[in-house]
């Protein structure tokens, strides 16, 4: 099974990268670009085939390593191959 974890800054936390990308897009002449946020997308191959168990284990990975919940949120998507 494949898991995709999207880690992003919590709302209200400054995202300097997103801010700089937004500025550069504007400088490049792209109009109508509002807020830009940059997050991480971590893709994992899991041996686990049970969706419930896989989600639980990935949640634990997020809490322990993949995200710092002080400033980041995470969202998990599971995909069967």
């Amino acid at each position: 099974m494949k898991a995709r974890v999207h880690v992003s800054f919590k709302n209200g936390v400054l995202d300097p990268q997103g801010k700089a990308i937004g500025l550069t897009l504007a400088n490049l002449g792209f109009a109508g670009v509002g807020d830009v946020r940059q997050g991480k997308l971590i893709e994992l191959e899991l041996a686990e085939s049970d969706a419930g168990a896989a989600r639980k284990s990935v949640e634990e990975m997020c809490e322990k390593l993949l995200a710092n919940t002080v400033i980041e949120n995470y969202a998990i998507e599971l995909e069967d191959d």
Binding site: P16, Q17, A20, I21, T24, N27, L28, Q38
Partner: protein
């Protein structure tokens, strides 16, 4: 010889290279602001080290799209010498003036230390004061210095003598083929990760980097 240093928002080795270069040239070196699309006639354009745009998104990515880069690309096509150091090297690859790309260091950490680099081609405007194969001690200081290129690109660079410097014994960032610096095909553009301007003065603890600047003066004066 006339030289200029381009200043991007977040460049931080602009002054360092300006000082080192003007010491070697014995005259002033002009600073050019990234937002200017006009640039006086010059024999050498230097893209300095630093964290332009904070190295956000990808190192060098945003600077490579600055207004001044259009002019620099045009000059480079006309054969004006362009030197990119560290972040400048990253900008040159992002702008397509040099092949390949610079990825985050294999160790995933910033690395600042003296490294030994070997001169792989001493027959260029940038390296004529060195011996072929000479090993230099020059500091690196970067987070994204892992050189990468597709196999066919790398082959072409090897055959074209485009590899300027290789790490001699200690590859600090996992660069492909130990590459520390490369030329364009015509040897008019050089990008390298080590900082010659930080080994240009006896008080730096070594002056091996000075030769690069002296080569340019010899070739372009």
């Amino acid at each position: 010889m006339k030289a200029c240093v381009v200043v991007f928002p977040g460049s931080n080795c602009d002054r360092d290279v300006q000082v080192a270069l003007s010491n070697v040239i014995g005259g002033p070196v002009e600073m050019v602001w990234h937002g200017d699309s006009e640039m006086a006639a010059t024999d050498l354009i230097v893209l300095p080290g630093g964290f332009s745009y904070g190295d956000y998104l990808r190192s060098g990515a945003m600077s490579a799209r600055s207004p001044v880069m259009r002019e620099i690309i045009a000059r480079a096509e006309r054969g004006v010498a362009v030197l990119g150091i560290c972040n400048g090297f990253q900008v040159l690859t992002e702008a397509g003036l040099l092949p390949g790309a610079l990825l985050p260091n294999a160790g995933l950490k910033f690395v600042c230390r003296d490294v030994r680099v070997r001169v792989e081609n001493s027959q260029t405007p940038f390296t004529n004061s060195y011996e072929q194969g000479q090993v230099l001690s020059i500091p690196v200081a970067h987070h994204d210095g892992q050189y990468f290129a597709e196999p066919h690109t790398l082959d072409a660079m090897r055959t074209g003598d485009q590899i300027a410097f290789r790490y001699d014994d200690d590859n600090p960032n996992g660069s492909l083929d130990d590459i520390a610096g490369i030329f364009n095909q015509r040897k008019t553009v050089l990008g390298l990760m080590p900082h010659p301007e930080r080994a240009a003065d006896a008080l730096h603890g070594g002056t091996d980097g000075r030769g690069l600047l002296q080569s340019l003066v010899a070739a372009l004066a």
